[in-house]
């Protein structure tokens, strides 16, 4: 697996942030926005020029979303020791997820949508697929290649899609994950919905008042048992489920029906009982709606809810990348046998008895659940198990 986020430019950097309880949430520096100093963000402090140079890209039209994906994919490919031939193989699938795609270029897109001549270099770079298509070319991938957008659960669905392709024999391995970059488009969208906090987000806290947006890329290499033989295994994906809340376009039902279905379905597909899960990496955005609905849902599914935390205070909410980022964190938890604290938490919610982990806790972990819920009621849950 590989990752780049505000919490670190690679796997070890992210792990260090988790271990040290360090949040990198702060003012926006990479592009101008009237919210740059008013709202905190999980921004990766590397410029597009540097990312481009590091990736050796000279051609025009490559967006930040694509540029962020490259180092994370490279790290995942290197950790999985995939050869050039593995990458070229038609048996290697690639499932990418993004919600912003090239719309990180908010101003350029608005201009290109109206101008009559001299279009910008980005004309073919705005849609979500543009990211995937560039990455396919860059890494020489030829197998089944797909892009998913199910809002904030996108890359959780990319992971389960890759698993299903392998399970049904359509691929031997899959590179799966997601990427999103900060954009005026999403900043203003979430701001218009009044769900961005002016402070650092406080998931599951009584005083929570919104989320912080972030940017990240995270990718996993999944292989079937034969292809993975002899390799270092971070974890096994043992269960997954996608369900819909069917309640509201941009908020979860109070009863958390979609989250309940996703979590129950993931347990069922893993063949596990609720009591088998030692830790949940919650969606935990820090919005009033999500954290209460998710708490109710966890109570409904588990009765006695296992240890849980939200790692979004480390990275911000990275939207389409969040599912993959938190899949990586879940697997780091399994690898380190350590569940990471929810930063910024002080006071339990009045309408729930649940309290997230507030300090890093070493605990034997065989099975970990990771939740991802999105606009449109798109809810997914994944279960990772120690190898």
């Amino acid at each position: 697996m590989g990752i780049i986020s505000a919490a670190g430019k690679d796997l070890s950097g992210n792990l260090l942030s988790l271990q040290q309880g360090r949040s990198a949430i702060g003012p926006l520096q990479n592009f101008p926005s009237r919210y740059a100093d008013r709202l905190p963000f999980g921004e990766i402090k590397i410029s597009n020029e540097t990312l481009r140079r590091q990736a050796g890209i000279t051609e025009p039209g490559v967006t930040r979303t694509t540029l962020l994906a490259i180092p994370a994919m490279k790290e995942a490919i290197s950790n999985a020791r995939l050869s050039e031939a593995d990458l070229r193989s038609p048996r290697t699938a690639f499932i990418n997820a993004t919600t912003v795609g090239g719309m990180c270029l908010t101003d350029e897109l608005a201009k290109d949508a109206h101008r009559k001549e001299n279009g910008s270099e980005y004309l073919s770079s705005y849609d979500c697929a543009s990211v995937t298509l560039f990455l396919m070319k860059y890494f020489g991938l030829t197998g089944i290649s797909d892009t998913l957008n199910t809002a904030c659960s996108s890359s959780a669905n990319a992971i389960l899609q890759g698993a299903r392709l392998i399970r049904h024999g359509l691929a031997d391995r899959a590179i799966v994950g997601g990427v999103d970059s900060l954009a005026k488009f999403t900043i203003n969208g979430f701001n218009a919905l009044h769900i961005l906090s002016a402070e650092k987000s406080r998931p599951f806290d009584a005083g929570r008042n919104g989320l912080n947006l972030g940017e990240a890329a995270a990718f996993l290499v999944m292989e079937n048992v034969t292809a993975a033989a002899g390799k270092k295994c971070f974890a096994a994906l043992s269960g997954y489920c996608n369900a819909n809340d069917a309640y509201h376009p941009s908020s979860l039902s109070d009863t958390g029906d979609g989250p309940v279905l996703a979590m129950e379905g993931a347990l069922k597909s893993a063949g596990l009982a609720p009591g088998d899960i030692q830790y949940i990496n919650a969606h935990g955005t820090g919005t009033e709606n999500n954290d209460l609905a998710e708490s109710r849902a966890m109570e409904r599914v588990f009765g006695t809810v296992p240890l849980f935390s939200s790692t979004k205070p480390y990275t911000g909410h990275t939207l389409g990348a969040a599912g993959a980022v938190e899949a990586v964190f879940s697997m780091l938890s399994i690898g380190q046998q350590e569940a990471y604290a929810t930063l910024n938490f002080t006071t339990p919610m009045p309408d729930s008895t649940l309290v997230p982990l507030t300090r890093n806790t070493r605990v034997p972990m065989q099975h970990v659940m990771s939740n991802s819920f999105g606009f449109g009621g798109n809810c997914s849950a994944l279960v990772f198990s120690a190898c």
């Binding site: 949508a113 101008r115 697929a129 089944i144 199910t150 996108s154 969208g189 009621g377």
Partner: protein, 354 residues
């Protein structure tokens, strides 16, 4: 792979309800706009707030879902751009109001997953819900996803659809990028223009699919997807696809071609046509509905119609061929000369495995 139980299509032609190609509608300034159905049973307030892509999808899917005796186990949508018009409207607001307080509904509607989400919301469907956005293969990936789901849940029914809208903005961007013709043409001249670019379209085609052949309209037996610019690779892929999925001596009776009048796509198309039997009939459709990322969903709907009617509507015929019965149809699409799909659609034979 799977059976098509029901199929509906909202397109620039009267394809909804009783399909009628006898007096085709024409594009206006190289753009085909969808002929929208009566949205019965949807409150006008809700309808007014829907972006066009969502509206087309709801118009195509909702009556079919209401008439079907059971709730599908999930909803899978392929779309290239989703609600592009809402996206641009929101972008324009960001700039016009210098990131002031904006109305969030355009933002919420503009996310590509809003189509599948709205269908789930309107029908109370809490099952699997996913949105594939792999540009010109978005619908094919939705279909592949449904095929995998049916392997996991053999008695299930899923709703699969391909939806896109053509707004002034995405037309403009693809025009600037050279994907639409610079000169205004009539639909009749699409295939003889000899210039790069095609004409734009929009629509929604929706399918209820299952592994159960009982009462099914058509049988999707195989599909192959590829990304390439090389006509040789396209031809090789088709050859192995037909070998892998063919009964010897039983080539496809009808070829539904994704020909779009862009001379740059011609080499791949010719490579494909060269591999067809001499007496195969050829149908094409982009002079009737335009071209867009998920237009292959319309092609699948047309294939289903052709199998049902055992005839190719006259307006679609490129080559009459030597047709007696139609039992096997090969569909080929080429999007922007890089994304290709092959699909085999066959008559339903009772008792054959999906």
């Amino acid at each position: 792979m799977l059976y098509i139980l029901q199929a509906t299509c909202v397109s620039p032609q009267p394809t909804y309800g009783l399909p009628d190609f006898s007096s085709p509608r024409h594009p206006v300034a190289n753009r085909f706009h969808a002929l929208e159905p009566d949205y019965q049973g949807i409150p006008t307030g809700i309808l007014r707030r829907m972006g066009k892509a969502i509206r087309l999808a709801v118009g195509a899917a909702l009556p079919m879902l209401k008439a079907f005796p059971t709730m599908p186990e999930g909803i899978i949508i392929g779309t290239g751009n989703g609600g592009m018009e809402d996206s641009i409207r929101f972008l324009d607001q960001i700039i016009a109001y210098d990131e002031g307080m904006l109305t969030p509904s355009d933002f919420v509607q503009s996310t590509t997953n809003a189509i599948a989400a709205q269908l789930g919301l309107l029908t109370g469907n809490k099952g699997y819900n996913s949105t594939h956005v792999q540009r010109g293969l978005a619908f094919e990936h939705a279909l592949l996803d449904a095929g995998l789901l049916l392997r996991e849940n053999k008695s299930a029914v899923y709703l699969v659809g391909g939806v896109d809208e053509i707004s002034a903005s995405n037309f403009n961007i693809d025009l600037l990028a050279g994907w639409f013709k610079q000169e205004i043409i009539d639909a009749a001249d699409l295939y003889t223009s000899g210039t790069p670019g095609t004409i734009a379209g929009e629509g929604a085609a929706m399918f209820l699919v299952s592994l159960n052949p009982e009462g099914a309209m058509a049988h999707v037996t195989a599909m192959e997807l590829l990304h390439t610019e090389d006509p040789g690779v396209v031809a090789c892929t088709l050859q192995s696809f037909l070998e892998k999925n063919g009964n010897p001596g039983e080539p496809p009776d009808v070829f539904i071609s994704g020909e779009n009048g862009d001379i740059r796509n011609q080499p791949c198309l010719e490579a494909v046509e060269a591999m067809l039997p001499a007496d195969a009939a050829i149908a094409r459709y982009k002079h009737l509905v335009g071209d867009y990322a998920t237009v292959s969903a319309v092609a699948l709907w047309l294939g289903t119609l052709i199998l049902q009617q055992q005839a190719i509507p006259g307006a679609l015929v490129k080559k009459r061929g030597n047709l007696s019965t139609i039992s096997r149809i090969l569909l080929y699409n080429n999007y922007k000369n890089f994304q290709h799909s092959f699909l085999l659609l066959e008559n339903v034979v009772a008792g054959s495995p999906a």
